[in-house]
Structures are given as C-alpha cells and as structure tokens.
C-alpha cells in the first residue's frame, strides 16, 4: 500500500534524523521529564533494568518506568504546574514491597497497598496510589520509602519540578514566580553515586546478602549518566534507560538556572568554572528576608556548591567576561558595543576641555565604576556605533567623590595620545571593547600563545581565545565545541569522583558552553 510505503520512508527519515540529532545536536539547555498538564496523574512502575556506566560496564538497577516506557535511571523527572493535585500510581514489579515518599510536599495521602514503615507500600504485583497538592514552586525530589538504603542506591529516586503559577516557555520563565528568580536557560543536576558491588549482588539474586555498611561508591552520576555519556543528547537510542543528558549551553549575559539535587548518600562539592553563581533557594525554599516574597535577597554567591544528601539547590549562573582585561568577543574598535561588554556606564556632567585631567560623571546608569583601581573605558556620544570614540584608562581616586574619574591614560595601548578629545562626547562606558595591546598591529590579545607543538590541547578547544572564533588546530584536535563557544567544566571538586570505577576521566564531569550570539539553544518543552 502506498501509505505504508510512505510511512516506512518517513520512519526511516525520522530514524536518520534522530541519529543525526543524537550525534550532532549540542546546543540545548533543558530539563526533560514527564509533563501531564495541570492536575496530572503519573503511572509509574518499579522494575529492574540495566544501565551503562561511562566505562561501558553494565550495571543492574531498580528504577521507575513511565507508562509504556523503559525503566529509567534516575526515575522520571516529574514536571508539575503549581497548585495541581498530583496523583502517582505506583505499580510494583520488584520482588519486595516498594513505596514512594515526596520530601518537601505536605499532606501526601497514600491509598491502596499495605501499611509500611513510613508510608503505604505496593506488594510485588500490587499498586499503591499517592496524592498531594503541589502547593509551592521549586525543585524537589521523590524517592523510595521502603528498604530505602538499598532501594535508593538501586535507583528509585527522581526529581520533581513545580512550575510557578503563570509560568510560560518562552515568555515567563521563573523558578519562583518573581523577577529575581527569572532565567533564560535551565538545567538539572541530579547527583547520585553507586557502589557497583551491591548492584552485582542484587543482579545475582543475593539482595538479602548485601552489606550496606561497607558501601563505597565507584561511579558518580549527573542525571543518571557518567562522563563522557553526559554529552550524548537526551534520549539517544544507545542509552535507553538513561534518557537525560547533562550538557548546559547559554549565551553571554543570559541567566541559567541550575536545579541541583543531592540524591545520593555522599556530600559533593560542585564547582562551576567560568563564574560564581547565586544560590537562590534550598529545598524549594527561597533565601528571602521577607517571608513569602520569593525575592532571594539573602542569596549567596558561591563558586563551589556544597551539595548535601537529600538537599536541593536552585542556583542562577551568568557569564559576561566583561572585565577580563581583553575583549573576549574579539571586536575591533569600530564594532558596535554590546550590552554584555559594559561593566559600568554614565553620562558626562561637563563637556571635555583639552586641558582636563579628569572626567565628571553622573550617577552610573549601569553597574558601578571600580573604586581605587584603574579601569578601561571609552568616551562616546552614547551611540553603540559612534565612530568618534576615545579609549581612556580611568581611576576613581577618592571613593568619597565617586563622580570624579582621573584620566590615567588616553588612547589605545601602544599608540600615541590623540591630539584632541572627540567631539560631542556625552558618555563614559566601562568596557574592554576593541582593546588592543602593544605589539603587532591590531593585537587583541595580552600575551603570545605558545607554539601549538608545545601544547597538549583538549577536545573543547576552538583554537582561539575569542568567543565564536575558530583558530587553526592540528589534525585530530578539537571537535566537541561545534560553535566555538567558551567551555567551562562543571564538576565535583572531590576529584576522585572524576572517575568511572578507577578509570580517569569520567564520573561527575560536565561541560557548560557559553555559545556565541546567534546560537539557537533548545528550551525545555514544559
């Protein structure tokens, strides 16, 4: 039949598309999971399965499968609109009673099954139902409430994300419904670890012989995968039971929300290269001085997040690279100045006279001028494309008089001082835009890099220091950074966890990429 031939062709094309996407799609920052609209019902089945470690090891797990789907490690991320009445039907295909608890949710009702230690349990072959109202937004987790030390180690744990009222992609993406919790990209960091010896025992039918007191992990996971598998796209066919990736992407100046879940038994120091980031909430509770405001004014700026067992942390990360001392965007002086390149801006109070050794500025309209240290700025008419810019090095010598900035230098490094100030100058913009250094003409970099033969290069190196620029690389180098973004490792700083059962590198490694402008970054679906 014609239609079935067409269907086959479509399927083949679809498969090819999936394979290609799986191999090449990288620009995404999204949280995958189960979304069943408002007042959802989730039908989950506890069952056994196998996952693949970053070293290729086959690891036995107990996981949850969504209706009709494969068993997952970790359990499916449940994405729920705030205020929903949530129903979770848990069917048990394991050989021992199983149940679920929902830390951070109140008034959880359990019906069916049998009475267990902390909640009602489903007997093997049976079902139990939990209902609760997802009253407040935030990042939470859910996990086994039966024989927990073993069942959670085996994989019966997952994340819950409650979307605030009014949440919309795109248009109104916030973690807690307020402007101070708004974000452009989001990523889940569900952190767990595994002692594979326990899983081997369970796989060979000796679950009752497992000694949990000698637990010692050898694998560390982000979203159920070890490095380097975290870089494969979500849902790739070769990781059927580990559908979630961990490969964040963002643009300069964007805010990325990290939803971190400490789902294992150990504490993990989670270090994000690139910049410090603001912790806005712990365990779904905003760090606020005014209760109920969801304004995280008590948020903490950290470069290493101590992720504790059972804890969730919401962290907002951003990067602009605007005070590096060189123009990481690789601009020439006449290019438009981008908003993210500016660390401070103010209008001039007085017109410049040739004899002026300082400038008098109004209160900054953006950022603040550094105190008692020199910084680079351009004097312009305030237009992004104004060609009559002059480069200056300024310094606020008396912080008690923040409107007076001494001119330390005029003109670009390595050039002579210009004869006169540019006409119609009306603004002072703190930026390293178009910075050049002494040396060869148009030298935009402060040092000379070594010969490539003296370097050992990494797979995410583009060959250039500048965002979006690709330099010449020797054969076989690079290739993991398709848009020539800036790559930063986000990883456990207990560095022994960067291994897969004794093989370095692996484990708790991920790479965040600051992509050049224009890169399309895939958003969460719900």
């Amino acid at each position: 039949m014609k239609t079935s031939a067409k269907k086959r062709t479509m399927r083949a094309l679809g498969l090819a598309a999936i394979l290609i996407l799986g191999l090449f799609a990288t620009a995404q920052a999204k949280v995958d999971g189960l979304y069943n609209g408002a007042n959802p019902t989730f039908n989950l089945t506890a069952a056994t399965g196998y996952i693949v470690g970053g070293d290729g090891a086959v690891l036995h797990i107990w996981g949850l499968s969504p209706q009709g789907g494969p068993v997952q490690y970790p359990a499916p991320t449940l994405i729920i609109p705030q205020g929903s009445t949530v129903t979770v039907n848990l069917t048990n295909q394991l050989a021992e009673p199983v149940s679920l608890v929902f830390p951070g949710q109140t008034n959880v009702q359990a019906t069916g099954g049998i009475e267990g230690l902390v909640t009602r349990e489903a007997v093997p072959g049976g079902t139990v139902t939990y209902t609760f109202t997802a009253a407040t937004p935030g990042t939470f987790m859910y996990q086994s409430g039966s024989n927990m030390a073993l069942q959670i180690e085996m994989g019966l744990a997952g994340a819950i994300i409650v979307r605030p009222a009014g949440f919309a992609i795109p248009g109104n993406m916030t973690a807690y419904g307020t402007a101070d919790t708004a974000y452009d990209q989001e990523i889940l960091y569900f952190q767990s670890e595994m002692d594979h010896r326990i899983h081997e025992k369970v796989d060979s039918g000796q679950a009752s012989l497992v000694d949990l007191t000698t637990w010692f992990p050898y694998y560390w996971f982000y979203n159920g995968r070890n490095a380097p598998d975290v870089f494969s796209a979500a849902g790739v066919p070769w990781l059927p039971n580990q559908p979630y990736d961990c490969f964040p992407h963002l643009l300069p100046g964007q805010k990325m929300l990290l939803r971190i879940v400490g789902a294992g038994r150990d504490m993990h120091p989670f270090h994000h290269h690139g910049n410090s980031a603001t912790l806005i909430a712990v365990d779904g509770q905003v760090l606020e001085s005014t209760p109920g405001s969801n304004n995280p004014d008590l948020g903490e700026v950290l470069f290493t997040q101590p992720v504790l067992p059972g804890q969730t942390r919401d962290v907002i990360f951003s990067w602009n690279g605007n005070e590096l001392g060189f123009d990481i965007y690789g601009h020439v002086a006449t290019d438009p100045i981008l908003e993210v390149e500016v660390f401070a801006a103010a209008t001039l109070q007085d017109p410049l006279a040739e004899t002026d050794t300082g400038v008098n500025v109004a209160a900054p309209s953006q950022g603040a001028f550094p105190k008692r240290r020199a910084f680079r700025a351009v004097l312009t008419s305030g237009l992004a494309t104004d060609p009559a810019r002059e480069v200056v090095v300024l310094r606020m010598d008396d912080p008690a008089q923040p409107n007076i900035l001494t001119v330390v230098k005029r003109g670009q490094e390595g050039t002579t001082t210009p004869a006169s100030w540019p006409a119609n100058t009306s603004a002072v913009i703190g930026t390293y835009h178009g910075q050049i250094f002494a040396g060869p003409a148009d030298n935009r970099f402060p040092v000379t890099l070594p010969d490539q033969k003296d370097l050992t290069m990494g797979a995410f190196y583009s060959g250039s220091p500048f965002l979006g620029a690709m330099g010449t690389l020797p054969p076989g180098e690079g290739g993991f950074n398709l848009n020539n973004g800036l790559a930063f490792m986000w990883h456990s700083h207990s560095e022994k966890e960067l291994t897969n059962n004794n093989i370095f590198p692996g484990g708790a490694i991920s790479i965040a990429i600051v992509e050049p402008f224009g890169t399309t970054i895939e958003q969460s679906a719900h």
Binding site: G274, R372, P399, L449, P450, T456, S494
Partner: protein, 427 residues
Amino acid sequence: MPSTLMRRALGLLLGVCLLALAVPAARAAVIVQCPGDNNGDADLVDVGDTPDPDRVVRCMHLTGGDGYAVMADGRRQYTFGFHDLTGTAIGQVINEGRMKANWPSPLIARDEGDEFFLTLTNVGMVQRPDLFDAHSVHFHGFPNSSSIFDGLPESSFGINMMSSLTYYYNVVKAGTYMYHCHIEATEHMQMGMLGNLYVRPAQNRYPDGHPLGALPAGKGAAHVNGDYALNPNQDDPLVGYKYAYNDGDGSTYYDVEYPIMMGGFDSNFHDADEFVQPLNFADLEDNYTMLNGRGYPDTVNTAPGAIVNVNGFEAQKTPSLISVNSGQIILLRIVNLNVTHFWGLSALGLPMKVIAHDADLLQTADGSQKLYYLTNSVTIGGGGSVDVLIDTTGLPTGTYPLYSTLLDHLSNPSEDFGGMMTEIRIN
C-alpha cells in the same frame, strides 16, 4: 580522469607546501612574558627594566614538576608541584626548577587592579621519565573567567615539558581563592599541585581619612593609609589599615592574615606514582591530613630549614603557627583543596566570625546589611573557601588549637595526635 587526478595531486602537494610554510619552527623554550621586564627574569626591579608607571603590572614565574615532601612522621612522599622562580634568569630555570615541587604550591597574593602575568614553565618529571605530562594553572573561583586562561585542559590546553605558557589575569575582585593544576586533575591534585591564592581589596588603598563607620573599637572612624599615593604603584596595600573585602564600612579590618589550606595525601597513591605502579583512583582515601602541607607538630615549627625533604630541599615552606598579640584581629583565609573529603576546622575557645564564603562578602543582595555570623567550626568541601575573623580582644593569652573536627583524622597516620591541626598563640 588522469588530469583530474593530476590536479588533485598537485593541489595536495601545494597544500602541503603551504602548510609547511605556515607552521613556524618548533621553539620549545623557556619564554617569559612580562611587559617592562627586559631581561626575562619575570620581575620589574632590574636596571634596564622599564615598567609602565601607569599600569600595575605584576609578574611571576612558576615551574611545574615533581619532587618530595616529608610527612610529620618522617615518611617520604613523592609529589608533583610548583616552584617560584620569579627573578631567576631564563637560562637557569630548567635546572633550578627540577625536583623542586613545593607542597603546598607557592602563595600567590595579589591586589585588585593588578594586571597579572603568570608564566608557567614545565620542567618535566625527573623521578618519572616515562611521564610526559603537561601542566596548567587553574585560578579556582576567579569571577567571569576566560576559558583560554582557565587552565582546564579540555577547554584549552596544558604546556608541554621544557616550554612556557603565560597566563594573563585582570585582577578585579577581592577574596580568598585557590589555584591548582587541572591536567589529569585527580592525579596531579592528589600529588600536590595545589596553592593558596588570594586578592586584597582596593579599599586598602583608599585615601587616608576616608570615613569608615564599622572599624573595630579603638581604630577610629576613618581609614589610615600612611603612604597614600594617587598612583597605586606607589601605595603599598600592606601599609596602613587592611581589610579582607571592600566592605564599605571597615568591618573586615584585620591585623594579621594567614592562608590555611586543608588537604591530605593518600600515601598508597603517592608510593604507586613514585614506583611506576598503576594508580588506584577508586580507593583514594587520604591517610595523611595536613594544613598548608604539614601535619602537626610540623605545622607549628617555624624554624627556617627545619623541614627538608630527602634531597635537602625545603619543599614545605609554609608553617601554620598563628602567633598574635592580645587584642589583634586574625584573618584566616581557609580553603579546602582535598580531593576526597569535606573537612571541618574548629578554633577551640575562640569565636570565629565568618565574613565570606567563596570570595564573596556575606551581605544582602543590595549590600545594605552584612550577614556575618559567629560559629565554632566551619565545614568546607573541596574547592570551597571561607574567610574567618578572630578578634582576640579580651581573650586570655595562651595557646589555642585550630584543628580538624574529624577527630579520627588527627594523626600522622599511625602516630596519634597529629595531622590537620595547628596552634593559635595569643601573646
């Protein structure tokens, strides 16, 4: 067809020739980049050096290689580490840098406003000629960093043996950071390539008399800066009042500062590395615990040259004895650079005021209110930092232990009463 083949072959040949022209000759060599330094020794103090008076250029030359440390129980430990050869002529760097791994790595203390040119020369591993590892420097926690100077081998590169790489940092944010090699991070960090790094605030260079409302009792209501000069090159940040952060009110004033690095060694791992055995990453577990690369009682031994390694070299240059006069305020810049553990640190009998986490002053988002807190202990994971002020005003003179709260690790390792501990002496 033949003509197509011929064209292709010629094209290929031309391409190869062009490539050969484009690739500069290999130049593996020690190269220092430091603007104004004209003899390549990475300092700006020699006759003939021409520092730009209007740029605050600072330079340093580190070598990366191997060496030995000695534990508090006398055990030898093979290490990787950095050595400071700032001021050494280029031609002597390889010889001077070999087998000189420091533990911990040399202190890097900078000031806001510095342009810092850090040259790293890889001198190779003398004890492990089979290794050809690159090295790098990662400034851990530096805000808004670039990936080219991040030292992460995945996103940039490491420098090969007998070659140099110069990092550039525009130093803009005060705080307590740390640095380490990021090449084969688990191995190189366990082997000791870890250093203290902090940045002093521009507030140290405020004009004499600048009003500050929250200075400690007896310190008046204004900043004191005896050598104030408009040009930061002429204003020593250590003359006059000193602060941990740009607090705006003098509340992070201190008299004496001490970097304290919590760390440890797994002796099995170090022995395996020394004797070219397979490395056991999976079972890494530190049995020697240390502060600034020494276990107690070596931590309180301040005699120069008292702790030397098997080659007679003083690799562990950093005692942690904290000795102050009653009434002084101590700033402890505490970092954990251990690769296996969270560690706690407690000052028995002394109030610890935590003023910053991870190089960020504890305050509300709008800066209107400080969020400092008092505690008896701090717990930090690997790669975290905490700044603690201890005001000794009114406290009895005497000796107070500063020790790991994981008491089972206070040993060297089979000798009891050692490890991650030092003393605070109030005189």
